[in-house]
Amino acid sequence: MASEVIGKPKNRVDGRKKVTGQARYAAEFSVPDLTYGVVVNSAIARGTIKSIDASEALKLEGVLQVFTHENRTKLAYYDKSYQDMDAPPGSPFRPLYNNQVQFNMQPIALVVAETYELALYAAALVKVEYEQAPHETKFAAQRPYAYEPEEYKSTPPPEPWGSPEEALKNAAHTITEEYAHPSQHHNPIEMHASTVHWEGDGRITVYDKIQGALNSQKYVMGIFGLKEEEVRVLSPFVGGAFGSGLRPQYQLFMAVMAALELKRSVRVVLTRPQMFSFGHRPKTVQRLSLGASADGKLQAVIHEAYAETSRFEDYSEDVIIWPGVLYNCDNVKLSHKLVGLDVYTPLDMRAPGGTTGIFALECAIDELSYKVGMDPMEFRLKNYAEKDQIEDKPFSSKELRECYRQGAEKFGWKNRKQAPRSMREGHQLIGWGVANGAWEATQKPASAKAVLALNGQLTVSSATGDIGTGTYTIMSQIAAESLGLALDKVEFKLGDSSLPKAPLEGGSWTASSVGSAVKKVCNKLGEKLLELAQEIEGSPFKNVKIEEVVFEGGRMHLKNNSSTAIALTEILSRNKTESLQAEADSEPSDEQENYSRYSHSAVFVEVKVDEDLGTVKVTRVVSAIAGGRILNPKTARSQILGGIVWGIGMAMEEYSVMDNQYGRFMNHDLAEYHVPVNADVHDVEVIFVEEKDEIVNPIGAKGLGEIGIVSVAPAIANAIYHATGKRVRDLPITLDKLV
């Protein structure tokens, strides 16, 4: 059957709510008798709290309580009670657990009052005395003590293959360089918030900013010893997260604890500065040694990563697998070590590891291509990976060559002059750069439920999230298509811990995982509809198999005779049934294990650099994506556009500056932490190349949340080199590094 809904550029089904202000986010649910909590954070990075004097705050009429480690509720004892679904190995941070300070801006008290303003004022009156201990937040100082964790959160570095050192020594062309990027913060525009509704009988309903309501529910149950039926978590809308909502953040702990203690409803919203007090993309330094033969064959890769983590958890991400995924080389050595600092544990941030590792690798490859004297795209194509060397498996599909072909054509790459500083427009040096990238196309187990009502409305649900990715829309499309319904006859529900289980919304696996469950449950409902139709007296569908019918236009008809048909609503009404429902669990197939599954991208960038001032403008970006089946070209394009904007931010702006004297990120607001604004984004184009993949999952979609960012920053860095002849290897590339 030709696709009616899937693959069409449909408007977002939740668009109307979002443009009218009716979409409600975590801090926006109106609950009766609400109180407000404001968090007090530590002023030191390490040490002991000697005393907290809350007397001035408590004197104020309307201040209900100041919670500290001294008067907090009884909490769970074991680490596992605090470990959420995205916790790295180690001991998770426990808010208000004791008097120890482990990082600067650690939450140490919660002031709860009848109004927000009063709580904010009272929080300023809380006096804290510390016994300060020396802290270490200098990456360079700790790097000599970098260690291999007992357990990696990411893929453990594989054993080396071939003879990398020897191959490097014998290579005709080599480079050895270090590439770095600083810590970066997610900074979704919605600040983390929780509204806890005290239901009056010990039960709570929590509206939380989270990329998976089940994670917050599990976390709250573990710490406060609540039963599943005592805590329901809702997050129907999330104002961006980019990974910051993968782990429950401390406002959730604070709001729940206060609600349970005070037996009142409580809302806690973090401030923008507090958005710099938890997880972030870890500062990472990578040393890359590459060798190539005279004719441009990659012969050796040695890739060592040093990445920041906290003292209490070993966070690691897939930084070093990319040489084995993107290129084929016979001699490779990979290592990944952690640098422990007195900071909060880093956290997955849009394409964690990929964004980091591909930046370094793609800059190094670019440098080597100049050494060899080859066009940077030709050099990459010459070393194109025909299989994944990390897993030693073929790709389930890989249309990266087509990305290069279409991207280069759109960009006009053939007109590029190879030598740096060879293209200009008056004072503007022009540079053209390219980079490629990949991101995992994973399917996780997921469940869904579908209910068809007598009025023809189909409701499908799963406890996944929509952080702006378009989950509501594409799931509605999949459901509509599966049962031949118009899109407006379908409602998809998500963001509710009482719905069928779904994985965290992250890792670019939602379309794949939840989409497969939605498809399966709708097919199951279709089978039930056929069975029900067969029970109707004189049914023309008797002895008909499911393969012999088609669902189309709100009806079910025979494949070979469309006039033998029945409306789905009639199947229900003729059986005197109010509604029909089905539930399904989907899991990745065994066959997937035989393949390596990735989406791919090739990104072409033009920059203009002012020769005298060093100012850089990213004037053109063409991003060509092989992401499997594109379910909705409109929302898909938006995800890739977002990735491009993030790449611009990473390459040129984003930098959480550590003040080592205090051990605190000092630029903790949006005036000082720069993210791209409208004026930073110029001509951007997205190409989706055709890619069929029947292995990756039953939907054939690979997920697009992360592939859009990974190659952008290196393509910009490479373009800046082409424009200026200056190779900047530490991000962000600000003008001081170019003049």
Binding site: R12, E117, Q639, D669, L670, N678
Partner: protein, 166 residues
């Protein structure tokens, strides 16, 4: 513990016309216009993204002009007319800028969107934007972390053309 009153915070009576309806309000002098809308009047369509005037999510139309409502105290605006995102549609019919945001997919998470929409309407009224570069500059006070900028520019271009035809 003996409670003192918070005598330093007085209340003032003000009159505001919000989305066409005049309201008599008693507000504490330290309440911002943004918190008045969100926490006291449940008009949560206006968003808080930083509370520091740095992100533009709280943009509303005050007497027709776009402002950051987080940087303004409610008591300062006695007698003013305020339009928020909730007041733009006429019944079921969306304001053309709202519809254009949907059609161009000029948002993802939707959190900065009310501010972007109010800012677009304010920008057109200001009459300063002539070129695409002007639009990009003059919309730069509204951060979209999802990165929908190029689609937002299309919406504003369309609105600009519409205003020139009118």
């Amino acid at each position: 513990m003996e409670k003192n009153t918070t005598a330093s915070v007085s209340k003032e009576k003000i009159s505001l016309t919000i989305n066409g309806t005049e309201q008599q309000l008693e507000v504490e002098v330290w309440t911002t216009l943004l918190d008045l809308l969100r926490e006291h009047l449940q008009l949560t369509g206006t968003k808080k993204g930083c509370d520091q005037g740095q992100c533009g999510a709280c943009t509303i139309l005050l007497d027709g002009n776009r402002i950051n409502s987080c940087l303004s105290l409610a008591v300062m605006h006695d007698g003013s007319e305020i339009t928020t995102i909730e007041g733009l549609a006429q019944g079921d019919e969306l304001h053309p800028v709202q519809q254009a945001f949907i059609d161009h997919d000029a948002f993802q998470c939707g959190y900065c969107t009310p501010g972007q929409i109010c800012s677009t309407i304010g920008l057109i009224k200001e009459g300063k934007a002539k070129t695409v570069d002007d639009i990009r500059d003059l919309m730069s006070g509204n951060i979209c972390r999802c990165g929908a900028y190029s689609n937002i520019v299309k919406v504003v271009q369309e609105a600009l053309e519409r205003s020139q035809q009118a």
